[in-house]
């Protein structure tokens, strides 16, 4: 079974995020790393290909400046190869534009199953995966907390507001996985070394047969008119617990008439 995992290479979440002052796009100039949320999809893909007794995992990513460091992490975990779409015309591309690019690239890999995170950790629009599914004419199941492939279909436990639904869906299909669906493996030393020589196919927008007007800032049809700091909450009283912490909380709750 061949699995494509959509992965995003994002600015290190440990560093404070910022907007580019000229374009108001998320600044993505520094080193990019594999989005933690995507490690779950990579792991799930590897496990599913493994239990199906064959097939491989292909990573698909769109990133600026030919960035591959996050892809190398996924390859070191065990993915066989990667497709990277990097093109100057993609700067400012929104979720739908991204989906068009990813869908065109995914098509080349002819997967049985496409996995993605429910949303990225930097932009978190959370719509790109279903947009990919719609463009490819595939069914989708989002928010999977358990994924099993049996023959020609995928069985998913899908998160709901009050519990979960068991959902069945014929393949090929797209599934988004929540964090915690599986425990991502740490790349081994051998894996890291092997990843250096695994193939990464570099593509441009033109290679995918897409029109530049459909992607980039022109495709986004949204104009940022203002960016401002949110109203900061008034800092309250911070006290060090000297054995009276619980009493302080009780007093506070009494003031609010919660008690």
């Amino acid at each position: 079974m061949n699995v494509v995992v959509c992965v995003k290479q994002i600015p290190d979440p440990a560093a404070p995020p910022s907007l580019d002052s000229g374009t108001n796009n998320l600044s993505r100039t520094g080193k990019l790393i594999l989005d933690d949320s995507d490690a779950y999809g990579v792991e799930m893909g590897l496990q599913l290909a493994d239990s199906a007794g064959g097939g491989e995992v292909t990573l698909v990513s769109m990133a600026p400046n030919g960035e591959t460091s996050g892809l190398r992490t996924g390859l070191a975990m065990g993915a066989a190869k990667a497709i990277l779409i990097s093109d100057e015309t993609l700067a400012g591309t929104d979720a739908l534009g991204t989906a068009k690019v990813l869908a065109a690239a995914i098509k080349r890999a002819e997967p049985d199953l496409i996995l993605a995170a429910t949303e990225s950790s930097d932009g978190y629009t959370g719509t790109t995966p279903v947009q990919v599914a719609e463009i490819l004419g595939l069914p989708s199941v989002t928010f999977a907390k358990k994924v099993e492939v049996t023959g020609e279909s995928v069985k998913v436990e899908r998160q709901t507001e009050s519990g979960y639904d068991e959902v069945e869906c014929p393949l090929p299909a797209l599934v988004t996985v929540t964090a915690g669906v599986v425990e991502p493996r740490y790349p081994s030393f051998k894996g890291i070394m092997a990843a250096k020589s695994k193939p990464v196919e570099n593509l441009t927008v033109a290679d995918l047969g897409l029109d530049a007007g459909q992607v980039g800032a022109a495709g986004a049809r949204q104009e940022i008119t203002d960016v401002s700091a949110a109203d900061a909450r008034q800092a309250g009283e911070i006290v060090v617990d000297e054995g009276d912490g619980a009493d302080r909380i009780v007093q506070f709750l009494e003031q609010l008439k919660v008690l």
Partner: protein, 323 residues
């Protein structure tokens, strides 16, 4: 693009429209002369009264989906309505699992962008502008939608109050879902509802949440006990949900629930932006954390720098003694 007509996706749970949809219908009244709802399910007529009471004059009924996940069929029905003309100038979706699926698919079908994480929506020069909270709510971005209508907006819960307008029942009109082919392959074969005692997390007056600072999974029992004593709901940070200590339905934050209780009590939660965006609009915030530099203290009205394993049991003991 003048805004005359707005459609709101009205999700139904336990036989009632969800609050997030009623919030959107209420707010849409201030933006457009005509507000209509879109719903699906076995008995849409049963919710027409409530939808009308909040301001929807019509409810477009996609009908029973026979166990299909709503994403593909409801998006197809909406796309057909838009393409037929005379449709809405904007469609508002609650940021729920199904709301996002439907909005995403519709966006791809219509080749129009969908604006997500919206926390404010206003009429401006003949169109709509949106507010988005980014970076965990530390910054607000205002954007103007420049594309051809309808604008598609996915809006976070509790961005607007739900206020009844006293309207009569909405008129139910059938909305045909065209053949969706392979995209509509997913079927729900069984539903599991987790048992819950006490109020719902996103409606509770008091929320007591636990985080990594609890140390281990069994310590979450303290959070549940404290929540019960305060007649509140237990919540959790993403860290302990990912670690498998508690179900996802308990998660407060960007990827979980948005809560605005009278009191939010954060126990052993550092306050990652992921978490803050889901709770920082609570009316009062109390935080217990042993690290005095934890970001949670920047939003706390009362911060206790201390060990949750000491403070929380003592709090439970005190509350029990009060009876």
């Amino acid at each position: 693009m003048a805004i005359d007509k707005i459609w709101v996706l009205a999700e139904v749970a336990d036989g009632k429209p969800i609050t997030a949809s009623l919030e959107l219908i209420s707010h849409a009244r201030s933006l457009a002369g005509t507000v209509e709802a879109v719903a699906w399910g076995e008995d849409t007529a049963a919710v027409a009264g409530t939808l009308g009471e909040y301001g929807a004059t019509v409810v477009h009924d996609v009908g029973d989906l026979s166990g299909a996940l709503p994403g593909a069929p409801v998006a197809a029905a909406l796309a057909a309505a838009v393409e037929a003309g005379g449709g809405p100038d904007a469609i508002l979706f609650p940021a729920t699992y199904d709301g996002r699926d439907i909005a995403g698919r519709l966006s791809a079908k219509l080749d129009r962008p969908v604006l997500t994480n919206v926390v404010g929506l206003n009429a401006d020069d003949g169109g709509l502008s949106t507010q988005h909270a980014i970076f965990g709510g530390q910054q607000n971005v205002t954007a103007h939608f420049t594309g051809e209508g309808p604008g598609l907006f996915v809006i976070r819960a509790k961005s607007f109050p739900a206020e009844a307008s006293g309207g009569g029942a909405a008129e139910v009109k059938a909305l045909e879902a065209p053949d969706t082919g392979a995209t509509n392959g997913a079927r729900i074969v069984a539903r599991h509802v987790e048992e819950r005692t006490g109020p719902k997390l996103d409606e509770a007056d008091v929320v007591v949440s636990g985080g990594r600072g609890l140390g281990q999974a069994d310590q979450y029992a303290l959070i549940e006990e404290l929540a019960t004593l305060l007649k509140g709901a237990p919540g959790a940070s993403r860290a302990i949900v990912d670690a498998g200590w508690v179900p996802y339905s308990h998660q407060v934050g960007q990827t979980g629930k948005t809560v605005k209780p009278t009191v939010y009590l954060a126990c052993g939660i550092s306050g990652a932006t992921q978490h803050l965006v889901g709770m920082k609009n609570s009316k009062n915030i109390v935080a217990i954390n042993k690290d005095q530099d934890a970001p949670i203290f920047t939003v706390a009205d009362l911060g206790i720098v201390g060990d949750v394993h000491k403070v929380v049991p003592k709090l439970i003991e005190t509350l029990k003694a009060r009876g």
